[in-house]
Amino acid sequence: MKRFALILLALVLVLSTAACGSGANTTDNSASTVASSSTPASETSTAAASGSTLPALTPDKPVTISAWLTSSFAAPAADNKITKLLKDKLGVTINYEIITPDNADQKTGVMLAGGEYPDLVGATDLNGRFITGKALIPLDDYLTADKADLLFEHVRPYWNRLATDAGDGAKHIYIFPNYNRYYGEITGGTNYGASGFWIQKALLADQNYPDLSNMTLEKYFKMIEDYKTKYPTIDGQPTIGYEILASTGREWGMTNPPEYLAGAPNNGGVIVDSNNVATIFANKDIAKRYFQFLNQMNAKGLIDRESFTQTYDQYLAKLATGRVLGMYDQRWDFGNANDALVSQKKDERTWVSTMPTYDGIAPYYADRDVMNINQGFGVSVSCKQPDVVVSFLNTMLSEEWQKILNWGIEGEDYSVGADGKFVRSDAQRQQQKDLVWRSSNLLEAFRDLAPKHQGSYSDGNAFSPDTQPSEFFATLSDYDKNFLTSYGKQTWRDFLNQPPENPVYYPCWNITLPDGSDAQMANTQMTDTALQFLPKAILAAPSDFENIWKQYTDAIAKVNTKAIEDVVNQGIQDRIANWGGSK
């Protein structure tokens, strides 16, 4: 009896392992059939509302779409009202998996090695690894006027820019750009989302609104030094003069400033001369001058010595205390810290941008908004019903849904004035600043990656409240109104230069360095070298600077920088030859 029981036990064990194996497979299949059985791919007879031949989305045919997103925004709360609306009106449920940008690279590597993807892949990967890794399907077949009409219109004028070669020699559209594809009149121009040497408003007010034109590094740091001496603490905490962002994935906070100081726009790690030839500047004199200057400022105690050990979150937390007087950063990057200060009613501790340059060179900080190629949603090869997913994205790009995503629901989040213009009441404006309210009422992570109808709608309203001029002025706090008046300016953008027309190839930072290439390897080595030596050079005693700078340039000399320059220059020439065409 005992022996029989043992044999039985052993058999059960063997069978259970086998069952486990097949069990995993069955769940895998069922997960995808949940979606496909509800809307069979063959059932394409019913036309969508927009008149396309793609399957229509209706509540009686529920669809579940799995989505992978690279975003700083969190997934919406369980009770999110837009999520509910999607379910009620279209029968669509989105399952989110969200990765913050600093962890996206390794997750991408793991996903590509595994070869299984969610239906929608929303990446901000400049190297287009999902495309070259054959994770995304070419969307050209759907992009016609009788299928995904709105998406087609979204990419049509920029077809040659967006079409990418996945390695098989033919160029296709794989990803819909998520930002800066404009429709109609570009309203707004009120906020400024990009680079600058930011300086605290309270500091400028205290120094009686000094003239910010012809700014130099010397003047910029003089203002900081004077204020820090006058107010050694802010809210009981030591005042921080200048903060440097150098966390993983955001090393540009430390390495990019020299190009602006030299009067060049943001091309990433290179400066492009008038003959369209790109050169790396990391080890050149313009860089040395900046870092030597920071070294001297550090000797005066103006640089936060913790800059190089903190994570991005710690950096934001520090900014949000309101005791950081200045930093180089891009406005979108420290938006969370800015929001936190505004919600604490500390408007005077937020910042405006200044544009220091060397030797009176004209500043070129602001550029014309650049369309995000290689960033946004693509449909994966694992997706069982790509036509449904494309249909969903197409529907989301309709003006009706764009208004819901960006303005909210009429009557709840905004109302329509007598002149047809959208307005918000003070209460509606106020609740937008509440982070908990936002997670229950906005679909921020999805919106971040989705294609957008930026510019203006056919009824003349601006794309979103931020860009509606009347809303911009209405949401300004009294402090900010007074601040702008004191400088005789209308908007935050007025603090920047007038951007000239972008060169055709611009910007070089989104030229792809292919996976596994020498250029990509060299680029990572450059970043690592900068991370290793530049913080040391800044924090060293001024007498040691030359020595460390030499170690740094010696280390750079060993990197195959020519490989990077070759790829970038090739990219510039390709763009000059091919861009501009539409379909």
């Binding site: 793991v110 070869g115 530049l534």
Partner: protein
């Protein structure tokens, strides 16, 4: 019945050793063999089948081509890439860092865990012993991301909540706060210290268990001979747990190239990279993040081979010392 059994001539079987052969043993132990089959299958599936992936080391692996067999073969190119040039310098530096961090952590962890176990064993008040044990093993259940957060806050400057600097400054031991995480010379210490804090209590459990297995009559005999507490510790407790210590040591040596990953990943930064970067972080940065799977595979192979050599060596030495061999 009883008499029959006693007088049975067949009773002599157990006295005469009889050769059964391999298959004989298998048949007579068939239940045991059957029970080990699932484990064997598990091992083959998850430990041996993946070794075929080592072919990637000799290929220019591109995930777009799904099959391992259709990749481009490049011979020893990836080995040359990893072990020469800037990558080589860096990889060799990282091997050094891995070994050093692992070794310091191992030695410190061992000595302290054994010392704490000996001390706890001498505590007569059960309540006090339990409290100490609970306090010391609690941190084991924290994930490394939380521990890294605690450590980085503790070691920050006082205005960012750095308690260590605060205490040292209040006691007038230092005048200026020390930036522990920006000085490469402190990094190994920070890693070993964090590991010690997190795992100390957990590691003592197994020694305490081994101590309970020591025959109490030995202690009684020692008492009779007039041995004091330290002598009992030295001559009875320590020899009593010697086998456990050696087996655990051999097992740890197999893991010596695994110096952890999380703490170096979360606390490492450009300023300390020369001391902080370990093999796994190099693999992540230059392998997985860049989609250079072949390079990552070469590094993985290297680690496996070195680990096998180390563990065989330790096992051999342990055998020579007359201690139990693990394999």
């Amino acid at each position: 019945m009883i008499t029959k059994t006693l007088t049975s001539p067949n009773n002599s079987i157990s006295l005469q050793p009889k050769r059964k052969g391999f298959w004989g043993t298998v048949i007579s132990q068939r239940e045991l063999v059957l029970m080990s089959v699932p484990i064997l299958l598990y091992k083959i599936l998850f430990s041996y089948v993946p070794i075929t992936g080592w072919t990637m080391a000799f290929q220019n692996f591109k995930p777009a081509i799904r099959s391992v067999w259709k990749q481009k073969w490049v011979g020893f190119d990836n080995f040359v890439k990893l072990f020469t040039g800037i990558n080589g310098e860096r990889f060799i530096r990282d091997i050094g860092n891995t070994l050093a961090q692992s070794f310091i952590t191992l030695v410190l962890g061992y000595v302290c865990a054994i010392a704490l176990a000996l001390l706890l064993n001498e505590v007569k008040s059960m309540g006090f012993k339990r409290v100490i044990q609970n306090i010391t093993y609690m941190p084991h259940f924290l994930s490394w991301i939380i521990v890294a957060g605690l450590v980085s806050t503790m070691l920050a400057v006082p205005s960012s909540g750095g308690m260590v600097n605060q205490v040292l400054m209040t006691l007038h031991i230092i005048k200026e706060p020390i930036l522990f995480l920006s000085n490469p010379n402190y990094f190994w210490g920070v890693v070993a210290g964090s590991n010690l804090w997190k795992e100390l209590g957990w590691n003592t459990i197994i020694y305490l268990a081994a101590m309970t297995a020591i025959n109490p009559s030995l202690y009684e005999a020692a008492d009779m001979d007039g041995a004091n507490r330290f002598q009992k510790m030295l001559y009875i407790t320590l020899p009593g747990i010697k086998a456990t210590i050696v087996v655990l040591l051999i097992m740890s040596i197999g893991w010596i190239l695994e110096a952890g990953f999380e703490i170096q990943y979360f606390l490492g930064n450009g300023l300390v990279v020369e001391k902080s970067e370990i093999i796994d972080i190099f693999v992540l940065r230059y392998g997985i993040q860049m989609g250079n799977y072949s390079l990552a595979t070469v590094a993985g192979m290297f680690k496996t081979v070195v680990s096998i050599i180390l563990i065989s060596g330790a096992n051999f030495i342990s055998g020579k010392l007359g201690e139990e061999k693990l394999i």
